[in-house]
Assembly symmetry: D3
Homo-oligomer: 128 residues x 6
């Protein structure tokens, strides 16, 4: 959805995205969601909160986003969050290590699942 | 595979796991893999390298492991790496934020995929 | 596979697709499957039965198809069944609500899996 | 988290779940989420809205939830939403048809992906 | 569903499973499906055909089944088809190599997806 | 990464890929990985070993790779390994049967998961 077609409700979300990010650019994800203004508003409100300042470093959050998106095979999400991670300072060496961890986890996930490995009692939280 | 049943090749890997981690405990994943000593040795050698010191913080690597494992639905991997992350200092607040990011990414992955959002040219690396 | 290249066996399936749907158009999925006439015939026969009149509304069936396809990340399937749902009367508001449910389920799936929530006995069928 | 351990913030969510559903029962999912009160509150608020009255029938929403959960392999979610669908009137025949559609979609998803079938231009929204 | 509760339609499928496999044992999958006799009959008829004699070796088919089931995280399917593969002669060494290939593919799938590697024109079938 | 940009470490891997495969062609996957020479070297070393001579037929290994890649929805991997399987002699009839098995497994995986079928004790290895 272009700015010209945006209803006031959509326009308000677009404006907040621009103000929060300090850029005039609205990426296609939000324009696609804008056909359902309520879904757009709810998704942006939650994303802004979750990806904002908190317990984890913003760059770590972007890397976690990439890890989930790669595992889900979401092309748009991988591309957009890899760009976001680079914008937040991810170096080529960090990207390489991120990929190594994702590849390692994908591999051991398959092995643990294939072998139906039973959970060690030592790993369960106390009182379970 | 119990220690008593371990061949010298398997025993050598078990010993290295114990030495690297500073504990006598060998978790079920490695015991299950031990039926194929070559696969056991290759997997441990790679894991030791990937999860060892590098560009990213060891706790961040555990969280990335959790993110991949949740998305793949690997119960064993979620439980063991959540225990490992706690052992490396993950607080309850950090765990909550980790879950929030994973949940957020799962949701927006679904939306981006459902809407078949085209990638913004702005996100592509230069020269693509 | 073009009509000109179709064997009599493939041609019979194409004819039944056309008759059932009341259109001359054969979409790429069936043309791609036609390289294996037995697989084409078996898949079409089952699809025709499953998606035909029954206990659930035809539009509901298309939405369920979309939900599975989004979760599997099948681009072709998402696009073709979204088009089919629109052809069966899905409104923009219904599409938005469908996306909201898929997004919600994706998110809580991740949380339930990440936390390894044990099933409440109250949810099991009696006699289990 | 038991009721006795619940903070006022958690207690308020538990109370709203009880009031909304008209039952004293709080299922394990919400108790597990309660370790992070903000995540609990945000998830419940959104779920209540999405699964509440709207464009789609409440039973249809539960079936869509099941379809996503099966595809994601989330055992807890399958079991709890199948129970919820039964409580909202899903018959055995409807359940059978739901399973047939999910199985059909899983199968054709795999075939379309394996064959890398190109999207038919006829399926794209006008103006794309 | 127990034999005693089986309708004549279900009973006929159970009898055919027994005759085809040369054993009196009916595993839980078929008993669970039996609540929907039409789905049971359609699934068994197709499975019998697909897994029967053909272009590929029966043991290879079981291994392919395991590969799909591991990637989907279907515990029941992994366990039952690993048992079936063993019954058809899969050795421990072959099982180890099967796991190695599945682990390798899981890892490179993640890398290719994470890097959004473009398909080489050399890999496309001629005439595409 | 082009040959001209390759460091000696990357060049050594490219040379080994060429020598092992008996072709001058380096596909995009390896060129994309080359931005992280250590990851490139580790992935190639493991792939060469796993896909090389062993307990399973090389063509069977390619088919298993396809089965995993289809289930993960990795477009690049499906296309490249389908090309590799064809180069190793996969016939159109074998491809059709491979697809039939993958489709069958995808379908029964969904059914077993949806019904939460309990594992039959008969399927567990002795001593479990």
């Amino acid at each position: 959805m272009s700015d010209a077609d945006a209803s006031p409700e959509v326009r308000a979300v677009f404006d907040d995205i621009r103000a929060t990010r300090g850029t005039d650019f609205i990426n296609n994800f939000w324009r696609a969601l804008a056909n359902d203004p309520a879904l757009l508003a709810a998704t942006w409100a939650r994303l802004k909160l979750v990806m904002g300042p908190g317990e984890l470093d913003p760059l770590v959050k972007e890397m976690l986003y990439i890890a989930v998106s790669v595992t889900n095979g979401c092309d748009y999400c991988i591309t957009s969050h890899t760009a976001a991670a680079r914008a937040k300072g991810m170096t080529a060496a960090q990207h390489g290590e991120l990929l190594s961890v994702i590849a390692m986890a994908s591999q051991t996930n398959a092995l643990a699942t294939a072998l139906q490995v039973p959970v060690d009692p030592e790993f369960l939280p106390e009182g379970t």
